[in-house]
């Protein structure tokens, strides 16, 4: 259901922008549609490697390892481990958030879980491999990941400071 909604919004945006390009002339629409299609053809082998590859990498990392890292231990070492765990978590959002919820139930501190979720959002290797590296210039991806490194810690520090959630 939500997948259908996403597709409707997505193709709706494509249609609206397509009309805006078409208003500048048919030739402009044809050439930019060809540009987009060529990008697509170029990206397909990389996406294929990402999708199929990520499945095998995920199969090798057992989820107990992730929750073990997130354990009830608190403090900055816990935040560090949570950050590593977030980056190493295989699979999509269901697995990422479920492991966070499991860790919370197992007694992990909220700042550590915040750090885990933020690190997963910023660095989850599967999203990097499957989406970011194929689409973006490689230099941008590594640069982006490097400057994002402090932010799970910043998020945990804010959570500790305000005492929430």
């Amino acid at each position: 259901m939500s997948a259908l909604l996403v597709d409707i919004i997505l193709w709706g945006s494509v249609a609206v922008l397509g009309v805006m390009v078409w208003l500048r002339g048919r030739a402009v629409l044809v050439s930019s549609a060809r540009e987009g299609t060529l990008d697509f053809i170029n990206i397909v082998p990389r996406i294929a490697l990402g999708v199929i590859g990520a499945g095998y990498i995920a199969a090798v990392i057992p989820s107990e390892v992730i929750t073990g890292w997130l354990g009830p231990d608190s403090g900055w070492f816990g935040v560090l481990m949570a950050t590593v765990a977030g980056a190493a978590t295989p699979g999509g959002p269901v697995i990422g958030f479920s492991l966070g919820a499991v860790a919370m139930k197992a007694g992990a501190g909220p700042p550590q879980v915040i750090a885990y979720v933020v690190a997963w959002a910023l660095f989850a290797f599967q999203r990097l491999i499957l989406w970011e590296i194929p689409f973006m210039p490689a230099r941008f991806v590594w640069f982006r990941a490097a400057v994002s490194l402090p932010f799970p810690f910043v998020a945990a520090a804010i959570a500790m400071a305000i005492g929430k959630p």
Binding site: E35, V117, P134, R144, V154
Partner: protein, 202 residues
């Protein structure tokens, strides 16, 4: 070829070169070392799965991933078209002014807002971010956009985080995350001008 498609009455031939110039630093380049590293990593993991689960384990993952791949493809096409159309519509000089290296805090705020409201998933955000980079956005604004999409984009939060993590956690997590895209973009800019003082093109 693109020249032939230009309207004949175009009065400003000087602009033609700007239009026909290949988009710089784009995704259309041979497989880089990043993909080679990933391919090697995948090969190692395939062998590990094969040794643990045998051929059946390997084919089972292969078929479920191929199904996933087939489902993703149309969205990837939509994302690529979206990126190409946005690159066509947004004028180069306006993007450079709004999201370029000298756009200041405002550029980071625009990037953050754009990432937060962009519909769809990774299949939209990365092609669009790549398109913005090619039409004049700097690394800082693009980082703000990508980080904003992952941290405060509403799509994933509503569909996945809210039901699994609960309302309280999700809301506070988003509140805590609000400043992060801007900080990440600012840090990106700060580091970028020091690593590439001559303003190398991304």
């Amino acid at each position: 070829m693109a020249l032939a498609e230009l309207p004949l009455k175009d009065p400003a031939p000087a602009d033609d070169t700007a239009d026909t110039e290949p988009r710089p630093g784009h995704i259309r380049k041979p497989i880089g070392w990043s993909m080679i590293v990933i391919a090697v990593l995948v090969a190692v993991c395939v062998v590990l799965v094969w040794r643990r689960d045998g051929v059946d384990g390997v084919t089972e993952i292969l078929f479920s991933d191929l199904a996933l791949f087939g489902g993703i493809l149309p969205r990837v096409l939509a994302g690529c078209l979206l990126g190409a159309f946005i690159a066509e519509i947004l004028p180069h000089e306006k993007v450079s002014r709004a999201l370029g290296p000298n756009s200041g805090l405002k550029g980071l705020l625009i990037g953050t807002a754009f990432g937060a409201i962009l519909p769809g998933g990774p299949f939209t955000v990365y092609p669009v971010a790549a398109a913005l980079l090619t039409v004049g956005a700097d690394f800082g604004a693009a980082i703000a956009m990508v980080v904003s999409w992952t941290l405060i984009g509403y799509g994933r939060a509503i569909v996945w985080e809210l039901p699994i993590m609960g309302t309280d956690f999700t809301l506070w997590r988003i509140v805590i995350s609000l400043p992060l895209p801007i900080l990440a973009g600012a840090l990106g800019r700060f580091v970028y001008v020091r690593i590439y003082p001559k303003g190398a093109q991304p």
